[in-house]
């Protein structure tokens, strides 16, 4: 009996940790203060006005949302592109994604999945829990409420869809959602995305062989060449391809290794407009850094593509640039082309290297 070790509880340091306004532990060299820090009185007023408009648009508990979207889709789109007020973001995300309806149609299902079912992925999930947003106050405490919620959502999903199960990367999406809503709400939003409640289903990002990741990388590669031919040529010369820098953009929809204040703005638009925005943001990043990137040799290029400068990651610069990038028609054509060559492509991937 005495051999049995008591689970050591990590004692939180007595001194309060300094966090930014989203709850991430501050690093000394982190200077995003200008973007996320104190704001002027006029900015507060503007924010107040936005919140009032949004409240009206959503209605009590979301009662007016559908009506408003049907009547004025362009107003909704424009307001979303400006950023959803943070205090309404959780509710707005659920309305936009259609997850609210799923929740209402499936009472008790989440509880059933969490409490009574067992998942083959439980160990895999546990291994990653403390490695998901480890610098956020909600998730950094061992076995704390954040880690427990994250575990529950991921486990529930891995039972709900045993073909997908649990895949690394889902944790960052679930984590992002949990900062804005309850476990059960986050679970249904995950379902809405992966099963395609409003947009095309995303589950292909996580299924065996990651078929949708492969397709998106193919599409992004061609879009890059089409929009930025000079950079495309340079990439070809340096043997750079999107799998070297963009796979996590798609797998986690920018929720991994991008500044949080940018990630949530991308998510606002992503939920309403779909995966197109991920391509647009990716192209906008390349476009913004174009003149630097075309000069860099392979190694510096890979580094630069994974460490964009702070000014490029400013949502108020990057998002307008992304909105002005048109991709829909090319995306459709490239999808058809990918599907046509898909068999050949898949074989080429597993062929032993030279």
């Amino acid at each position: 009996m005495e051999k049995k070790r008591v689970d050591e509880h990590e004692v939180e340091p007595a001194a309060p940790v300094r966090v930014d306004r989203f709850g991430f532990v501050k690093q000394e060299q982190n200077s995003t203060e200008g973007l996320t820090g104190s704001r002027s009185a006029s900015e507060y007023e503007r924010e107040e006005r936005r919140i009032r408009k949004w409240r009206k648009m959503i209605g009590v508990g979301g009662s007016d949302w559908k009506h408003y979207v049907r009547r004025k889709p362009h107003v909704v789109k424009r307001r979303i592109r400006k950023g959803i007020p943070d205090c309404l973001r959780g509710l707005a995300w659920q309305l936009i994604s259609g997850s609210r309806d799923l929740l209402l149609m499936n009472p008790g299902v989440y509880e059933q999945l969490v409490i009574y079912e067992t998942s083959a992925s439980e160990l895999d999930i546990i291994r990653d829990i403390s490695r998901t947003f480890p610098s956020h106050v909600f998730f950094r405490q061992r076995h704390g409420p954040g880690q427990r919620s994250l575990y529950n959502v991921l486990k529930a999903y891995s039972v709900y869809d045993r073909d997908v199960g649990y895949v690394q990367g889902m944790g960052f999406i679930a984590g992002l959602l949990l900062l804005y809503m309850s476990e059960e709400d986050a679970f249904w939003l995950l379902v809405a995305l992966l099963k395609g409640a409003v947009h095309a289903p995303m589950e292909g990002l996580y299924l065996a062989g990651l078929p949708l990741v492969q397709q998106y990388l193919f599409q992004f590669d061609h879009l890059g060449k089409e929009h930025l031919p000079k950079l495309g040529g340079h990439f070809a010369q340096e043997m750079i391809n999107p799998s070297m820098y963009a796979s996590q953009w798609f797998i986690t929809v920018f929720s991994y290794s991008f500044p949080f204040h940018l990630a949530i703005r991308v998510w606002d638009v992503f939920l309403y407009e779909g995966v197109r925005i991920v391509f647009k943001i990716g192209l906008a990043l390349l476009k913004y850094c174009h003149d630097d990137l075309v000069k860099l040799p392979f190694e510096k290029l890979v580094y630069a593509l994974r460490n964009f400068p702070e000014d490029a990651l400013n949502p108020d610069v990057l998002l307008p640039l992304a909105y002005s990038t048109k991709v829909s028609r090319s995306l459709e054509a490239l999808k058809r082309e990918y599907e046509k060559h898909n068999g050949k492509q898949a074989k080429a991937h597993v062929k032993p290297g030279q």
């Binding site: 480890p134 492969q214 799998s243 070297m244 991994y256 890979v302 290297g353």
Partner: protein, 200 residues
Amino acid sequence: MASSGNKSINAKLVLLGDVGAGKSSLVLRFVKGQFIEFQESTIGAAFFSQTVAVNDATVKFEIWDTAGQERYHSLAPMYYRGAAAAIIVYDITNPASFERAKKWVLELQAQGNTNMVMALAGNKADLLDSRKVAAEEAQTYAQENGLFFLETSAKAATNVNDIFYEIAKRLPRLQPASNPSGMVLMDRPADRVANSSCCS
């Protein structure tokens, strides 16, 4: 592939291994001299570079640190194809991760780059009390498969630089032409049956 300049070569190196074996931690220790207890999971892959000096030459490693989960397997060939070296990492406290390491070795052998230098790293060697994989077992396996083997600890900074340094020494272009065959045993996959051998 390892391409030679004057006295410096670039070598692509890939890290493979099970989830949580410590691939990213090994790289972080090697490249930045740091250790983070809760290292964020790697999604897709990460890239680093670091230079080491060996035998009057410098080797610049271009390091691809891959995601460990089985589901990401289909992305792995993009990172190991054309690599001059691979470090296959397992966790000495987790036998399943050792089995996974063996599968990676098989896969690398099957893809046919006979010049690839392969190292096996038994990581988390600081956790001696929880050891589940005997060093002798791994050593024997490594010898039989033409890998060189070290137990490492990214946390305690044990053998981390050494494993990269050993790889650098074994890269084909850095071997002096008159290298006595005495040390070939470990670094050349001579006993690989699938390939018709011609070298020794």
